[in-house]
């Protein structure tokens, strides 16, 4: 029985901007078990990145503010932890990789210098030991000639290589959780396939749990065990990957999957589209956030925002009604 590594409860994050209050995350909850891979899926602006950045308190404050919630990591609430203890968690116990490796690597530091930083900081390694370990890590993530290449700067690496170096850095202290925030979005499909494969192999080898944030429902299908679908700052469906794709129960998930063209199917007719667009988040809706676009919308949806409820084993949705993909 795998134990619960991270438990996020009722997380609320808002941004106080001059234009108004942005309700970025409105009650996000999820669990992450040891060694599992969780996918957080949603369109841009749905709060998937903000909710994960909030857990590590990486939200710039001001304008961002974590209003409420808990993030229990191995018995400690990360949202209450003193900052010097939290620093130890970041990078050491929870590693992170980002969408654009060029902006997350420092352009004026060599790869060696950057990768050594977390190890010197967290593990108290000497620079020489760190160098040996870096060469080992770069070899592990598939960078050819690591002994030579550690003297290079990020701009001398290609996009795929930079992401590999980022992964090596995130894994350098053997974290228990790897958070991947759209790590393949900026990459071409053939490079994306390489990175997904690499992360799969590394997980088999090192056994860390992974939170993979993406808007690409295709990537998730291959990679994760469980999926949380987010919409307008709310989680709307939580299920195993098989249920999410095979038996989606939230109208948003159902419509989204239907709107995707597929490479393995020739579709002659029009794509099903979701009318309208995602809401801006300046107001906290008093009703279901998907109601304006929902094909199944009824009176009740405009009156009250449904909370998460269980519709099957490990399958929860935020919808008043029982619909399946055959209803659409």
């Amino acid at each position: 029985m795998a134990y619960k590594l991270l438990e996020v409860k009722d997380l609320v994050t808002r941004f106080y901007t001059p234009e108004g209050v942005v309700h970025a995350v409105n009650g996000m909850s999820f669990n992450l078990d040891e060694g599992e891979t969780l996918g957080i899926v949603g369109e841009s602006g749905c709060g998937k990145s903000v909710s994960v950045l909030s857990i590590l308190r990486l939200i710039p404050n001001p304008p961002g503010k974590i209003e409420q919630g808990k993030a229990i990591f191995l018995g400690r609430d990360l949202l209450q932890l003193p900052i010097d203890e939290l620093r130890h968690v970041r990078g050491m116990e929870i590693g992170m990789i980002f969408q654009d490796p060029m902006t997350s690597l420092n352009p004026v530091m060599t790869i060696e210098h950057q990768l050594a930083e977390p190890m010197v900081e967290h593990l108290g390694m000497s620079k020489r030991d760190a160098r040996d370990r870096i060469i080992e890590l770069l070899q592990m993530v598939g960078i050819p000639n690591p002994a030579e290449r550690i003297r290079e700067y990020p701009h001398q690496f290609s996009g795929g290589m930079r992401q590999r170096a980022m992964i090596a850095m995130a894994l350098s202290c053997n974290p228990k959780i790897l958070i991947a925030d759209e790590p393949t979005t900026a990459l071409d499909v053939t490079i994306q396939a390489q990175i997904v494969d690499l992360v799969n192999q590394l997980q088999d080898k090192l056994g860390m749990a992974i939170i993979w944030i993406t808007h690409d429902l295709g990537v998730v299908a291959r990679l994760v065990n469980r999926v949380v679908v987010m919409y307008a700052g709310y989680p709307v469906e939580r299920a195993s990957v098989k249920d999410t794709y095979g038996n989606p129960r939230h109208p948003y998930t159902i419509s989204l999957l239907r709107s995707l063209p597929r490479i393995d199917m020739q579709r002659e007719e029009r794509l099903e589209n979701i009318e309208g667009r995602p809401p801006d988040l300046f107001e906290e809706p008093a009703f279901c956030p998907f109601a304006p676009r929902c094909p199944f919308v009824q009176d009740k949806c405009w009156q009250e925002n449904p909370g998460m409820r269980s519709v099957g084993e490990n399958h929860e949705i935020a919808c008043w009604f029982d619909v399946t993909k055959d209803d659409l």
Binding site: Q194, H215, L217, V219
Partner: protein, 353 residues
């Protein structure tokens, strides 16, 4: 000269007014008439160094490609970033001057037109750009943006123009009252609709859509693709649809061309290419696209290419794909493969296919 311009304006106006009738008769015909022919098109971007801007090399973005597009069809052009697909589209419209090669639009050699001639030829061919945030002037109203091509190319009065703008906005599914607003007031999907309306203002016959949906949210992409398809049905446009999203290209394109490092490696009907890719690069590319279905993904085997795309400044000898090709042999690094027709309408540039 002035007189000539003026005459041309009237010619265009006539064309304009007859377009709808013509479009309908075209749909009825739907023949295999070739509307665009590209012959050995090359576009090199010089690399200059030093005080005297001496040329030290060239980025061989597009290096000798040839293909045809038939009236009313959608040709999908796919490939990874940096393979030259956008450069191809832009060079075809003479937004870039080609280094070598010819582009024909019907009987007109586009690449031989003078600067003035190309300007008056532009109404025939238009472009939809990738980034709806960067391609619309933020200081112009929607009405001005959509009306600008009409102002330049037609002798319409401002009332006629406003009427036409309203009609166009309605056509792309936007409220005509929005014409007094500015681009920043709209979402990405709506901005792309404005871009589409602008491209269609002069009723072009050929439209290059350069990654028109890749900057949009997933749930909005389908809306824009449906719009492009509806418009094609209505006016029988010919599209060159440039994209890196192979799933969407499968949906929208009749024929698909695959590019790698400035060369065409395969061109075929959509269903032939997707069900039976013959070039090793196309095979790898298709197998790398994830399918949103965990049951299928579990069983699917993939070809994972090693390494990155080489630099187009000094591309590999022979077949440009040989450095990453899983089945490369000696000949591949020595001799450049030419496009061969292996099956009806299915062309491949590979020695071993």
């Amino acid at each position: 000269m002035l007189v000539r311009c003026y005459q041309r304006r009237f010619v265009i106006r006539d064309v304009w007014e007859n377009r709808r009738v013509k479009a309908n008769s075209n749909t009825a015909k739907k023949n295999n008439e070739v509307i665009i022919r590209v012959e050995n098109l090359k576009k090199y971007f010089p690399i200059e160094r030093g005080l005297f801007r001496r040329q030290v090399g060239a980025v061989q973005a597009v290096d000798g490609i040839s293909f045809e597009i038939r009236r009313g069809e959608t040709l999908g052009l796919v490939g990874e970033s940096g393979c030259g697909k956008s450069t191809t589209g832009r060079t075809m419209l003479r937004l870039y001057e080609p280094t070598e090669g010819k582009v024909f639009f019907g009987d007109v050699e586009v690449t031989a037109l003078s600067r003035n001639e190309i300007r008056s030829f532009r109404p025939h061919m238009q472009m939809i750009f990738q980034d709806p945030y960067a391609s619309l002037n933020p200081r112009m109203t929607v009405g001005d943006l959509v009306g600008e091509p009409l102002l330049i190319h037609t002798p319409m009065t401002s009332n006629e123009r406003n009427e036409k703008v309203s009609e166009l906005l309605e056509l792309v599914g936007m409220n005509p009252r929005f014409s007094v607003r500015y681009p920043h007031e709209f979402s990405g999907g709506q901005r792309q609709r404005i871009g589409v309306a602008r491209a269609l203002a002069l009723s072009p016959e050929f439209v290059v859509a350069d990654e028109p949906i890749s900057a949009l949210d997933v749930s909005v992409q389908a809306q824009v693709v449906n719009l492009l398809e509806d418009l094609q049905d209505k006016f029988s446009f010919t599209y060159l649809f440039i994209a890196h999203d192979l799933s969407m290209v499968r949906h929208i394109a009749n024929r698909v061309a695959v590019m790698y490092l400035g060369k065409l490696v395969e061109i075929a009907k959509g269903k032939d290419l997707y069900s039976n890719p013959l070039h090793p690069y196309s095979q790898a590319l298709l197998s790398a696209v994830p399918i949103p279905d965990p049951v299928i993904e579990e069983k699917r085997s993939r070809i994972i290419l090693t390494g990155d795309v080489p630099s187009p400044v000094s591309p590999p000898s022979g077949c440009r794909f040989h450095t990453r090709c899983p089945i490369a042999e000696k000949i591949c690094s020595e001799e450049e493969p030419l496009l061969r027709q292996l099956e009806p309408d299915h062309w491949v540039a590979c020695h071993l296919a």
